[in-house]
Each structure stands twice: as structure tokens, then as C-alpha cells.
Amino acid sequence: MALASPQVKAVCVEANEFQHLSNQFRVRGVPHTVINRRASFVGALPEPDFVAAVLEGAGVVLDEPHEAPSGPSTEISA
């Protein structure tokens, strides 16, 4: 995604090694994705859902709201 957009910085964090970050972002399971250090979701999402989640987390208003699959693991929490 960072290759596709100059705005994106992608950071893969080793959760065990950086406990302060894991605690700060309440990481309980992996993969756990945090966007702009505020919104987050847990689990591996299909590409369209991942992109939609990143845009939503970054505060971009989509013309057609993307419907993410229901379930707690895909909920975006701010």
C-alpha cells in the first residue's frame, strides 16, 4: 500500500518486542492494525476491506460507504 500511495507509511511492529506500543494500542491478538494511531482493527482483511478501513481510519469520506463484513474482528474502533 505504501508503494501504491506516497501518503502511506507502513510499519510492521513486532508486538512482543515493543510492549509499550502493544499496551498503548491494546493489542490482544495479531495481526492488529492501527491507522494514524487512533483507529484500529484486528484480523487479516481482504484487500478491498483493508483499503476501506485504512481510508476510514485516516478520515477519508468515501462516496459509497464500503460494507465491511460484520463481526467484532473487523469493527473499526476509534
Binding site: M1, A2, L3, A4, S5, P6, Q7, V8, K9, A10, V11, C12, V13, E14, A15, N16, E17, F18, H20, L21, S22, F25, V27, V30, P31, H32, T33, V34, I35, N36, R37, E47, P48, V51, A52, V54, L55, G57, A58, G59, V60, L62
Partner: protein, 154 residues
Amino acid sequence: MALIPEPVRQQLKDRFDTVLSGPVHLTLYTRPGSSRLILPAGLGCPTCEDARQMAELLRDAAPEKVTLDVVDVSRDAARAQIDGVDDVPTIAIASNSETGRIRFQGLPTGTEFPALIDAVERVSRAEHGLSDESLAALAKLTEPAEVMVFATPT
């Protein structure tokens, strides 16, 4: 070199030989540390030496295409701040000498190691692998967005 066995090195060389196309610039942000001593946070860096070996492995697998720059954040805190690196070890990957926007924070072992190799190859080939729909959606990003993915080696 204890961390990476010779057969793996040769395998990576053979792979990079065929897969890499353009140049890749790696920056390793590190701090002197000891893998034997556990020091309070902010003092030592138990995994920095291993991370250095890993970054050198990538460079040595294709030295004509992969370059490596090592930044000691205890000596060059200003650089780390400018590049937005808060924790070490961090490996940043870029296609030129600019600051890499693809980063691995911590020692990328286990399932993170293939992801690191994949990132180097994708940067080299400028191959994002996303669909046209995703590209169109990402074009709507007008402000910087940081995507942190927490992972574990297993």
C-alpha cells in the same frame, strides 16, 4: 555469523538474482546494545545486533542492487527524529536514498522474515500488487496515513 545459516544465504542470493530489478535502499536504525544484558528500556537494544545481521544478509545477497545505511540513534538522534523513528531496531526500505515508508520495527523473524523479503522484492520491482479499485480508493488519501501492523514471529 550465527543467526543465518549459509544455505539460507545462498538461497536468498539465488532468489534475489532472478527476482530483484531496481535498486533498494535499506536504512537500519540501531543503538549499541548487548544481546546478553537486559537493560532498562531506552538504554540497551537486545535485538539490534541480530537486526544488523539480518539487514547485512539482505545487502550481501545482492550487493549490486541493495544498499544499507546504518544510523546509530544514540549518536544521531536528530536523524531518527527527522525520519520519524521512535524505536530500534527499525529497518526502512526505499527504492532510493530517501526515507523508506515501509518499515519493520523489531527483529523480523518467523513469519515476519518472508514479509521482509517480499517487501524488498516489491520495492525493487515497484510492484504494489493492488487492484485498480484499491488504487483509485487510495488516490483519495491527501494527507499522510500511518498504517501500523502488529505481528508476532509465530
